[in-house]
Symmetry: C2
DNA sequence: CACTAAATTTGTAATGATTACAATTTTATA
DNA sequence: TATAAAATTGTAATCATTACAAATTTAGTG
C-alpha cells in the first residue's frame, strides 16, 4: 500500500500529517477515536494538533477514503475500510468487531420507492469469547 | 392508552412530569430530541426543568418503555415504540421515517456463536416525496 | 536564490449536548 | 402534624467538536 499515491489519486495533497494519519488508520483496524489517533501519533509528530486530526479526517471522509460512525452517541470512530460492513460491540469486553453483511438483501418494502444511499448497521450483545468464559 | 397505568405497571411512579413526557412521546412519533420535548412541554408545565426531561427519559429507557438512538452523532432521539425497527433519514428534507424490518433474518455468519441482544439499523438517502419533486 | 501568494497546520476560544450535584419541593408514612 | 424518602429543579462542570485567527510551510515566479 503506497499511502502517498493513494492520497494523491484521491485529490489529497500528501503532507506529513496526512500520510501519517492515513497510515495509522490503515494499519489500526480497531476503529480509533480522534483522541486515540492523536495520542498515538503525537510522539511521531511532536507539533501535531488535535485540530489537524479533526480536519484531516474530515478531508478523508469528504474525499471518500475514510468512513466514520458512532456507537451509542459517544465519540466518532474512524475506519479506513470503505466497503459497506456492520459493526458488533460486545457489552462485556467492549471489543468492536467488523461484520461483513453477506445478505444485504434486507427487504424494506416500505422503501421501495426510496433511494437508499447509505446503510448503517451496528449490533450489540456478547461476543463468543466472553460467552465461553 | 392509559398512560398512568402503563407507567405504574412498569415500576415508574406516575408524577405529572412523567405522565406528560410519556404522553408527548407516545403521541409525537417524530423522534423528538430532549430540546424539542422540553420546549413543547414547558408551556404546559412552567416549572419543568430540562434536567427532568433527561432524567425521566433515562428512567423510561432503563424500565423498557422508551428507546433511543442517535443519527450522525448528534443529539439523541427518543421513541415510545419498543418494537425493533429501522430508521430512514432523508438527506434532502431531513424527515425521519420508521421502517419495519420484515426480514430481520440478517445472516451474519461471522456471528454464529455471538449473542446478539440489540440490532440498530439506520439508512440514509432520498425519500420518495423528494425524489418525485 | 529571494519574494509573494496560497495552502496547511496550529492553538485557543466558543459551542452545545449531556451529566454531576446540591438545594428545593413534593409525596409518602407514621 | 412531623419526618423521611422521592422527585424535581437550577447551576456548574464535563467533554467532544467546531470556529477562527495567527503562524508555519509549500508552491510558483522571476
Ligand atoms: Mn469497521
Ligand atoms: Mn422509530
Ligand atoms: Zn466480549
Ligand atoms: Zn425527503
Amino acid at each position: 500500500m503506497d499511502f502517498i499515491s493513494h492520497l494523491s489519486s484521491n485529490n489529497i495533497k500528501p503532507s506529513v500529517q496526512r500520510i501519517k494519519i492515513f497510515e495509522y488508520l490503515y494499519k489500526n483496524t480497531n476503529h480509533p477515536t480522534v483522541d486515540i489517533i492523536y495520542k498515538d501519533l503525537v510522539g511521531d509528530i511532536p507539533t501535531l494538533s488535535k485540530t489537524t486530526v479533526y480536519n484531516t479526517l474530515k478531508l478523508f471522509i469528504d474525499n471518500g477514503i475514510t468512513s466514520t460512525f458512532t456507537i451509542d452517541g459517544n465519540e466518532a470512530r474512524y475506519d479506513a475500510i470503505m466497503e459497506e460492513h456492520a459493526h458488533f460491540k460486545c457489552n462485556d469486553c467492549g471489543q468492536l468487531y467488523d461484520v461483513e453483511i453477506e445478505a444485504l438483501k434486507l427487504k424494506f418494502s416500505k422503501l421501495n420507492d426510496f433511494q437508499i444511499d447509505n446503510t448503517n448497521i451496528y449490533l450489540k450483545g456478547i461476543c463468543n469469547k466472553c460467552l465461553t468464559k
